[in-house]
């Protein structure tokens, strides 16, 4: 298969980021080193999530038929699709960008953009972090904000989908 410009885009992007690091290193060694320390801390944390996403990709490509995905998360999935994406976003773990490859694969399988947007929005709601959130902001505020965000996640997913489709 001939390599396209697009298949190199990621490497160009990485190259630009490395150039930015080089520029920062020239002007502020402390910021450069601090960035590297932070980078290493993130890498250590995300390795298990990276493995989880890879395992889910294998399951998606091996055991789940495109027809099944379209049935549950495609154009005609309806309310069930919103619920799946809502629940998926809440239970998914790790940094948001680690889920992009899996979501990209799901988009290719026919998953609605609205569901992808709702999944990403609900990554903001993390049951494991709720006790800490309650500690900082109180139980009433936490309950109201969580409820509002759950409702808004579906509304924004719907709006994103309509805007993206309108531009096609």
């Amino acid at each position: 298969m001939k390599k396209t410009e697009k298949s190199y885009a990621g490497w160009y992007f990485l190259g630009i980021v490395l150039l930015i690091y080089a520029a920062v290193a020239l002007f502020s060694t402390a910021s450069f080193l601090s960035g590297l320390v932070f980078f290493w801390q993130i890498i250590k944390k995300i390795i298990p999530v990276f493995a989880l996403v890879f395992a889910l990709l294998v399951v998606l490509n091996y055991a789940i038929r495109p027809k099944t995905i379209v049935k549950h998360l495609g154009k005609d999935a309806g309310a069930k699709g919103w619920l799946w994406s809502l629940a998926g976003g809440i239970i998914s773990t790790g940094p948001i960008y680690l889920w992009y490859p899996l979501l990209n694969e799901m988009q290719k399988h026919g998953v609605r953009n609205g569901y992808v947007a709702t999944f990403l929005y609900n990554r903001a709601i993390k049951p494991a972090l709720l006790p800490l959130f309650i500690f900082y902001f109180g139980i009433a505020y936490t309950a109201v904000l969580t409820l509002v965000m759950l409702i808004v996640s579906v509304i924004q997913g719907y709006i994103v989908e309509k805007i993206v489709e309108a531009g096609k």
Partner: protein, 145 residues
Amino acid sequence: MKEEKPSFKEALRKSGKSMWMSFPILLGAVLLVSLANALIPKQAIVNFFGAVPFIDSLIGAGIGSILAGNPVTSYVIGGELLSQGVSLAAVTAFIVAWVTVGIVQLPAESMLLGRRFAITRNIVSFVFAIIVAYATVIIMGIAGL
């Protein structure tokens, strides 16, 4: 017509290729997030806020959109902002934007999920960060919480 099931080896190869294609993008995203955290001093955030609640909400959503990382950090900063007298709506907009908008991750999101999708999603999420903030504060007020 019945769909042909791929072999496990084929699924593994396809998934590996997909991850490899995403690898430089993910690595670049982690590097950018790390640099943003190193360059933006968290202690200075409170200085960005003034006394006009709506403008503060815009500022909160703006700063939350640029900063990235563990949501716990946004709780700590949010708690600190509240204790410094910043409005609840502004702090809420900041916390919500932190987890729903990602300017630093935007290049990675654009490359993997589509530019139009990524830009639209981030703009809509930014607007909703302010709407969610005010809706939460208004509901709290009405319910007397």
